[in-house]
C-alpha cells in the first residue's frame, strides 16, 4: 500500500478507448453486409459506383490536405465512410463519373468548406446526393437495375408507383422484395435485412443511440398508419432504414441530448411522411435529414438536461 500513487488532476479520470478512427471502422464494418450483399445481388454496376464514390471522396480529402498543408486525416476513415454512404444512396446504373463527382463535392463543399470533420452542418453524403439529384435528375431517378414495369413507366420505384399510379399499386407485393433482394432502388436499398444486421452491430457496440432511429421509424409507421396506408411498406420502402440508422445518427449533424434526439427523430419522421405524401418527389428521407440537420443546433439548445443537483430548469 505504501507504494500506491494517487494521481491528482482534473476530470476525466476514466478515458474511453474509442476514438474517431475506431468509430468510423465500426460504422464501415456495419455497412459491409449491405455493401457485399449489394455487389453480390446487383453485380458490377454497384461495384463501379461504390469504388468511384470512395475514390472521389478519398481523392478529394488527399487533394485538400495537399493544398491546405494541414495534417492528413485520411487514415481516420471518415472520407471513405462518406464515399461509401453516398454510393449506397445512388442508383446502380448511373454514369461512372457521377459518383466520382459526388464523392468529390461531398468532401470539398459539404465538409472542408465548413471546416472539416466535426464542423459540417449538413451530412456530407446527403449534400452530395442532393446536388447530384438536382443536377442530373434523369439519371438519379431512372438508373435502377430492374425498375418496376407498370403502365409502360419503366423508371418507377415502388414509392413512385404508390404515389403517382395508386390504382395499380399493391403494397404486399413489394414487401418481401424489400427485405431480401430489391432491385428497383438505390444500391443501399437492396435488402432491409442486411441493413438491420449492420444497425444491430452499431446498437450493440453503442456507437449509435437507439432514440433517433426508433422515433424516426416509429413516427413514419404511425403517421402512415394514421393516414390509412400500409405502414410496413412505407417503413421498408426507399431509403428510410439506411437513413434512420446510418445518416440521421451522424454525430456531427444530430443533437446530442437525449430529449433532443427524440424531438429530432419525430421531426424527421414527420417531414419524411410530409414529403412522401405531399411533395412532387416520391422519396423524402434525404431532404428530411438535411432539413432537420439545420434544426439540430436549435433542438440541442432547448433540450439540455437538468444539471445534477440544480433545482428547476437548466440555464445556459
Amino acid at each position: 500500500m505504501d507504494n500506491f500513487k494517487f494521481t491528482v488532476g482534473p476530470a476525466p479520470h476514466i478515458e474511453k478507448t474509442e476514438d474517431t478512427s475506431k468509430i468510423m471502422f465500426w460504422v464501415i464494418a456495419a455497412l459491409l453486409p449491405i455493401t457485399i450483399g449489394a455487389i453480390y445481388i446487383m453485380g458490377t454496376p454497384a461495384l463501379i459506383v461504390i469504388a468511384m464514390s470512395i475514390a472521389g471522396s478519398v481523392g478529394a480529402e488527399a487533394l485538400w490536405h495537399a493544398v491546405s498543408k494541414k495534417p492528413m486525416t485520411i487514415a481516420d476513415g471518415s472520407a471513405a465512410l462518406t464515399g461509401l454512404l453516398l454510393a449506397l444512396t445512388l442508383p446502380p446504373q448511373v454514369s461512372w463519373w457521377l459518383p466520382l463527382f459526388g464523392g468529390f463535392i461531398a468532401i470539398t463543399i459539404a465538409k472542408f468548406i465548413f471546416g472539416g470533420l466535426g464542423y459540417n452542418i449538413f451530412n456530407p453524403a446527403l449534400v452530395a446526393r442532393a446536388i447530384l439529384l438536382l443536377s442530373w435528375p434523369a439519371q438519379m431517378t431512372k438508373a435502377w437495375l430492374e425498375p418496376v414495369n407498370i403502365d409502360a413507366k419503366t423508371m418507377a420505384t415502388p414509392l413512385y408507383i404508390a404515389k403517382k399510379i395508386p390504382a395499380s399499386f399493391d403494397a404486399q407485393a413489394f414487401i418481401k422484395s424489400f427485405l431480401f433482394t430489391n432491385k428497383a432502388g438505390s444500391i443501399g436499398e437492396v435488402s432491409a435485412v442486411l441493413l438491420l444486421v449492420g444497425a444491430a452491430i452499431l446498437l450493440f457496440k453503442k456507437i449509435i443511440d437507439w432514440r433517433i432511429p426508433f422515433f424516426y421509424i416509429g413516427t413514419v409507421a404511425f403517421l402512415t398508419f394514421a393516414a390509412g396506408k400500409n405502414p410496413t411498406f412505407y417503413v421498408l420502402a426507399g431509403g428510410l432504414i439506411i437513413g434512420a440508422f446510418f445518416m440521421a445518427t451522424d454525430y456531427v449533424t444530430s443533437p446530442i441530448t437525449p430529449r433532443g434526439r427524440i424531438i429530432y427523430g419525430v421531426g424527421l419522421g414527420a417531414v419524411t411522411v410530409l414529403l412522401r405524401f405531399y411533395s412532387n418527389l416520391s422519396e423524402g428521407v434525404m431532404f428530411a435529414i438535411l432539413f432537420m440537420n439545420m434544426l439540430a443546433p436549435l433542438i440541442e439548445k432547448y433540450s439540455r438536461p437538468r444539471v445534477l443537483g440544480m433545482a428547476g430548469k437548466a440555464k445556459s
Partner: protein, 209 residues
C-alpha cells in the same frame, strides 16, 4: 485635380472595398435571381447602375432642401422615377430581355443597394462625388453579377448565349449533362459563397503583406 482624385477614390471604393454584393452584401435578392444567364446580368447591371447614378445625383442636388424627417419617401420617389424610365425603355427597346428579367426590373425600386447609397453617401456629399460613388458601386455590382452569370451559365448549361448567338461552348458531351444545379437557386448561393471566399482569401493575403 484633387477633386478628380477624390472622385476616383470614391469610384474604386465602390468597386472593391465596399463592393455592394461581396462586402456589404446588399441587393442580393435580385442578383442571385438574375445571374443564371450572362445576358441578363448585363442588362440588370446597366439598369441598376443607371438608376444609382441618376438617383445619387438628384439626391445630392436637393439635399439642402430635403427635410430629414421625410427624406426616405423622397428618395423612394426619386428612385422610382428613374426605375420607371428604365422599365419603359427596356420594354420598348429590348422586349425579349425585359420578358426574361420580368419583375426584377421594377423591383430595383426597393433594392436596398440604391436606397442605401442615397442615404449613406449622396445625402451628405457633393454631386460630383455622389455620381462617382454611384458609378463605382454600379460597376462593382455589374462586375460581380457578370462573373456569377458567366460561371453559372457556362457550367450550368454548357454554353454561353449572348444576343441569340453562342459565343462559348464546352462541347456537346458536356451540354448533354451539365451541372444543372448551378442555374437553379442553390447554384446561385454556391457560386456566390465561393466568390465571397475568394475575395476574403485575396484580402487576407494583402493584409499579411
Amino acid at each position: 485635380m484633387s477633386n478628380l482624385k477624390v472622385a476616383w477614390a470614391d469610384f474604386k471604393n465602390g468597386l472593391v472595398v465596399e463592393n455592394p454584393l461581396l462586402v456589404l452584401m446588399i441587393g442580393l435578392c435580385s442578383a442571385l435571381a438574375v445571374s443564371s444567364r450572362l445576358e441578363n446580368t448585363i442588362f440588370m447591371g446597366v439598369a441598376a447602375t443607371f438608376v444609382l447614378v441618376c438617383s445619387n445625383a438628384i439626391v445630392s442636388l436637393i439635399k439642402k432642401v430635403t427635410p430629414p424627417t421625410i427624406r426616405i419617401p423622397i428618395f423612394i420617389v426619386i428612385i422610382a422615377s428613374f426605375v420607371t424610365i428604365v422599365d419603359l425603355s427596356m420594354k420598348g427597346y429590348f422586349p425579349a430581355a425585359y420578358e426574361r428579367l420580368g419583375v426584377w426590373i421594377p423591383l430595383i425600386v426597393v433594392n436596398c443597394m440604391i436606397l442605401g447609397r442615397a442615404e449613406a453617401f449622396a445625402y451628405g456629399n457633393s454631386i460630383f462625388r455622389s455620381v462617382a460613388d454611384g458609378l463605382g458601386i454600379g460597376a462593382g455590382y455589374t462586375m460581380v453579377l457578370m462573373i456569377m452569370g458567366f460561371v453559372r451559365e457556362l457550367l450550368g448549361s454548357g454554353k454561353i448565349i449572348l444576343f441569340d448567338s453562342t459565343v462559348l461552348s464546352l462541347g456537346s458531351a458536356y451540354i448533354k449533362d451539365p451541372i444543372r444545379i448551378l442555374v437553379f437557386f442553390p447554384g446561385a448561393f454556391l457560386v456566390f459563397g465561393f466568390l465571397i471566399g475568394a475575395l476574403n482569401i485575396v484580402r487576407q493575403k494583402r493584409e499579411q503583406k
